[in-house]
């Protein structure tokens, strides 16, 4: 290391917790150049940096697949668990109890979530585990070279597989059916929206599903494919203009003419400001959410934005009456092992 490199360092921007963006990066990605997943990793890095999250306050989790490799490529200073194919939700559920003051961020793919992992995906939503669950959705298996996933549209033709004859799974629709309390869809090509939704998800006290159409440039990126960049750019239709306003920042409503916005207060004091576009959409209505998903399928549009949010339902860790601000994994032996006198009680319970 020469002196010149040090002096050559320009004044590095630090966030409120004194960290630079580099402190949020991970290892060099090994995914394909142009992969949608890489741009999502970059937005995770940016969101965490801009939210002034200390990386040690985050656990990152994944299953198996291209998408599930990506946690190695962001938040190097966070604890991570690259678990089993389709089983990340169970690992995350258990891991969350170790220190419930941490934020959990999980990355999965469409195969990992809707093929092998459909069961665990549904059950973690039922339990409302406080976690951001990103589905990097490209309709195809990458690491095993180009097989259909359950989100591939009917009629999709892939090079080595022929035509898909099965009805596709809609991640957002499944999330709604299973009682997820934060349901969003985005497009890897829309970096700003991805980042804003990740920030909002990290502010949510419950399970935040973010289904991100994240094209696979190697196996499924023809313009007529529903998971391609071309189709996404042509067919993306935001539900609203989505602005995330952190707690410490005042909302400048003056920017918006009266009656053109909706606001959602998040658990951590931040606010989501939704500016109306073509329609006045209420993301707290389940019925409205189900309807717009159906419509978007009929109209063949890539509907993006915050589709549904419920900020009231207690999260998994709320239900368990864990100590305020103190982690289970910091409990002392005295707190965990009953005292000597209690052995008599145990024996007395028996006959």
């Amino acid at each position: 290391m020469s002196d010149t490199t040090e002096t050559a360092m320009p004044n590095i921007q630090l966030n409120l917790v004194g960290l630079s963006k580099n402190d949020y990066r991970g290892a060099q990605t090994t995914l394909c150049a142009g992969c949608g997943h890489n741009s999502i990793s970059n937005q995770i890095i940016a969101a965490a940096y801009e939210l002034n999250i200390v990386p040690e306050d985050v656990i990152k989790l994944s299953g198996i697949g291209c998408s599930s490799k990506s946690p190695a490529y962001f938040l190097n200073r966070s604890f991570g668990f690259n678990s089993l194919h389709g089983r990340m939700p169970s690992v995350a559920t258990g891991a969350m109890f170790g220190d419930h003051t941490l934020k959990a961020l999980a990355v999965s793919g469409d195969g990992d979530t809707t093929n092998i992992g459909m069961g665990q995906f549904k059950h973690i939503m039922r339990r409302n585990a406080p976690m951001v669950y990103i589905v990097e959705n490209n309709g195809v298996y990458g690491l095993t070279k180009g097989q259909f996933s359950a989100t591939a549209e009917m009629g999709l033709r892939l090079k080595y597989q022929g035509i898909n004859h099965y009805f596709p799974v809609d991640v957002v629709q499944e999330a709604m059916a299973s009682g997820a309390t934060f349901v969003a869809r985005s497009f890897a090509g829309d970096a700003n929206q991805v980042k804003a939704l990740i920030k909002a998800g990290l502010s949510h006290n419950g399970l935040a599903i973010i289904d991100i159409i994240s094209p696979c440039v190697t196996f499924n990126n023809n313009d007529d494919s529903r998971h391609s960049y071309g189709w996404g750019r042509e067919h993306q239709e935001p539900l609203h203009d989505f602005t995330y306003v952190p707690r410490e920042q005042e909302i400048q409503l003056g920017e918006f003419p009266e009656g053109t916005t909706r606001q959602v207060e998040m658990h951590d004091g931040s606010t989501i400001v939704l500016k109306k576009l073509d329609r006045d959409y209420d993301p707290t209505s389940r019925a409205a959410a189900m309807r717009v998903i159906e419509e978007s399928q009929d109209e063949e549009v890539l509907l993006t934005g915050l589709i549904y949010v419920d900020t009231e339902r207690p999260s998994l860790t709320d239900i368990y009456e864990l100590p305020q601000g103190r982690a289970l994994n910091r409990m002392t032996d005295t707190e965990l092992r009953p005292g000597k006198d209690m052995i008599e009680k145990a024996n007395a319970m028996m006959f």
């Binding site: 290892a27 200390v54 990386p55 040690e56 306050d57 656990i59 946690p71 190695a72 190097n76 200073r77 966070s78 604890f79 991570g80 668990f81 690259n82 678990s83 089993l84 089983r87 939700p89 169970s90 690992v91 995350a92 559920t93 258990g94 891991a95 969350m96 109890f97 170790g98 220190d99 003051t101 941490l102 069961g119 665990q120 059950h123 339990r127 368990y320 009456e321 864990l322 100590p323 305020q324 103190r326 982690a327 289970l328 994994n329 910091r330 409990m331 032996d333 707190e335 965990l336 092992r337 009953p338 000597k340 209690m342 052995i343 009680k345 145990a346 024996n347 319970m349 028996m350 006959f351």
Partner: protein, 609 residues
């Protein structure tokens, strides 16, 4: 010393046989007979008579036949016996077979609503008006069928001399002191006792007398004992999925943890229990919690173990501490879900693909279930690997006379875990998978550790010493070799076997788990027949040096177990190939608890070959 079979009791005026017989009650599943049976068992126990009870039940909620067998043994033998001197028949579907099953000279009791021909004159036969007694006791009509089974408790109390005060004591315990159900059931028992006194004449020799051989013992089932042990082990996270015969382990934690762990003024719980959607999720959650620094346990049986295979491999390779209770039942497949077995030894020891060696702990009594309940956490965290506690249906679900639970004799061992100040104190940079101490066990950190260098990336993929992804051949081999060292280290931490020796014994017996009472009893019979045997009860895999020494010290060693393939025998052959010729396998795999008679006769037959 008694012989296993009671000989030649005359149907009249024979010599009394006191505190040494077996009785079986045949009822229909779901008819409420469990309360009656356990009440009999407990009353006998409170009379100071060594006693064991085995519920031989079907996989069914209501309607299929079920048997409960109670053995009273003045000599303290607790194994199941194959002959039954006293039989109570309450089930028309099995009446004929039940009548045929009574040992010559024994006594047969049946509810008089069962109309069958009595075709035996070598036993005493009595019918009693169970339904009438239930009705006359004033029990509400909707409960009469349930309390009708109490009638045989009253009849047997009279005919066998069971202390009615002890029966009341047992009911008080069963109903947690609630006077209404106690009175309801006691009403039927009293009425039946009175009816029996007025109407039945004792002609068989079997009866009980108070003695003083149960003081210093409790009655417990292994699942509850293990659950309480886990609570004393500081369990913090439980994930489970319902399965017979393991459900009552997790349920007993749920039901009891608050009483032991919630304290006045505490600002929250020190534990969490999640019923998962399946066994895959149960072990996944347990692994997640173990990774995050919690004492984490799941309970299951064979089918669940099969489902947990991939996670077991991950936890072995990523080195995550978790405890899995396997309450074994008969497999393969759904098998005999309500019958006992020791059939998961091989599959569980090697659970996972590739090269995997899992640590097994094998409790042999309810007291040991308690001990392994807490000790399994210490070993798992010390070794940073899964620990499988291999119980079985017989040990887990039946009531056992056992020594009282003992408070852990060692402080909690959290193993090599580093928090912020520990990392600060290190002279060299910490690396997750570096073998610093030469024992194969690395140091770990857990999420929530805020030191900037504390994080690591857990993965099932190849990794180097710093937990970074690696496909390098030398990294892979070095890591796998370290895991072997770690496994060898584990033999210093697992419980040593229990030895029973006899002067001049040249024959050894190795057994484990719930086989223990049958082996102990058979040893006495063999000695009485002139064949002295030594007995080593295995309590863990990896094997400790005592096992090698034991096999080496005997001309021949029989490995007795309850599975078809002689699974522990095979593991011993793998471990000690040089002594293979000294090892012989004796197996029984009929789903029933082992009997001493079978052990004795099979071993003698082998010796005569």
């Amino acid at each position: 010393m008694t012989t296993p079979q009671v000989k030649e009791a005359k149907t009249s005026q024979g010599k009394a046989v006191v505190n040494d017989f077996s009785m079986t009650v045949a009822t229909m599943n779901g008819s409420g007979s469990q309360t009656s049976n356990v009440t009999l068992l407990r009353a006998l126990f409170k009379m100071g008579i060594p006693v064991s009870g085995k519920n031989l039940f079907p996989s069914n909620i209501q309607g299929l036949p079920t048997w409960y067998t109670i053995r009273v043994s003045k000599d303290g033998y607790l194994a199941r016996r194959e002959t039954h001197e006293v039989v109570v028949a309450m089930n028309p579907d099995t009446f004929v077979a039940d009548l045929a099953s009574v040992a010559p000279g024994g006594a047969f009791f049946y509810g008089d609503h069962l109309k069958f021909e009595i075709n035996r004159d070598d036993i005493s036969v009595h019918s009693f008006p169970a339904k009438l007694l239930a009705k006359e006791s004033g029990a509400p009509a909707n409960l009469r069928d349930y309390v009708a089974n109490m009638a045989y408790v009253g009849v047997l109390a009279h005919m066998l001399d069971i202390d009615m005060d002890k029966i009341r004591e047992a009911l008080e315990y069963h109903f947690d002191g609630k006077e209404k159900p106690i009175a309801l059931n006691m009403g039927v028992i009293d009425a039946a006792f009175a009816w029996s006194t007025a109407n039945l004449k004792k002609t068989d020799p079997y009866r009980v007398e108070p003695m003083d051989k149960t003081s210093g013992f409790i009655m417990a089932d292994g699942n509850t004992a293990g659950a309480l042990g886990a609570i004393f082990g500081g369990v913090q996270f439980v994930a489970w999925y319902p399965i017979t015969p393991a459900s009552s382990f997790a349920e007993a934690i749920s039901q009891n943890i608050s009483a032991f762990r919630d304290k006045e003024g505490q600002d929250g719980k020190t534990y969490a229990i999640v019923q998962a959607e399946d066994e895959l999720a149960a072990i996944g959650m347990t692994v997640g919690a173990g990774w995050s620094g919690l004492r984490s346990v799941t309970s299951t049986s064979g089918p669940g173990i099969s489902l947990m295979t991939e996670f077991a491999g991950l936890a072995y390779y990523a080195e995550i501490p978790v405890v899995v209770w396997d309450v074994q039942r008969v497999g393969p497949s759904t098998g005999l879900p309500t019958r006992t077995s020791q059939g998961d030894i091989l599959s569980t020891h090697f659970l996972g693909h590739g090269d995997t060696q899992q640590i097994l702990m094998i409790p042999g009594s309810a007291q040991e279930c308690f001990e392994f309940g807490w000790r399994s956490f210490d070993i798992s965290e010390r070794m940073q690997t899964p620990v499988f506690v291999m119980s079985d249906l017989d040990l887990g679900m039946n009531q056992w006379m056992t020594k009282p639970f003992e408070y852990p004799d060692q402080p909690m061992d959290r193993g090599k875990i580093l928090w912020e100040k520990d990392l600060e104190a290190l002279k060299e940079p910490w690396m997750r998978y570096k073998d610093v101490d030469g024992d194969g066990v690395p140091y770990r950190t857990a999420p929530g550790n805020r030191a900037p260098q504390s994080a690591w990336f857990a993965r099932g993929t190849g990794h180097d010493e710093s937990a970074k992804y690696s496909e390098r051949a030398d990294h892979w081999e070095a890591n796998m070799d370290r895991l072997v060292r770690k496994y060898q280290t584990a033999s210093q931490y697992v419980p040593a076997p229990v030895l029973q020796t006899r002067a001049g014994a040249k024959i050894g017996v190795i057994a484990y788990g719930s086989a223990d009472p049958a082996i102990l009893e058979a040893g006495d019979y063999l000695a009485a027949d002139g064949l002295a045997t030594d007995y080593l009860r295995l309590r863990a895999v990896p094997f400790t040096d005592e096992v090698r020494d034991f096999i080496a010290a005997h001309d021949k060693t029989y490995v007795v177990e309850m599975n078809r393939d002689g699974q522990m025998h095979k593991l011993l052959l793998l471990e000690y190939p040089e002594m293979a010729a000294k090892l012989s396998s004796l197996v029984k795999y009929d789903g029933l608890p082992l009997s001493a008679l079978w052990v004795k006769e099979s071993l003698q037959a082998e010796e005569q070959k």
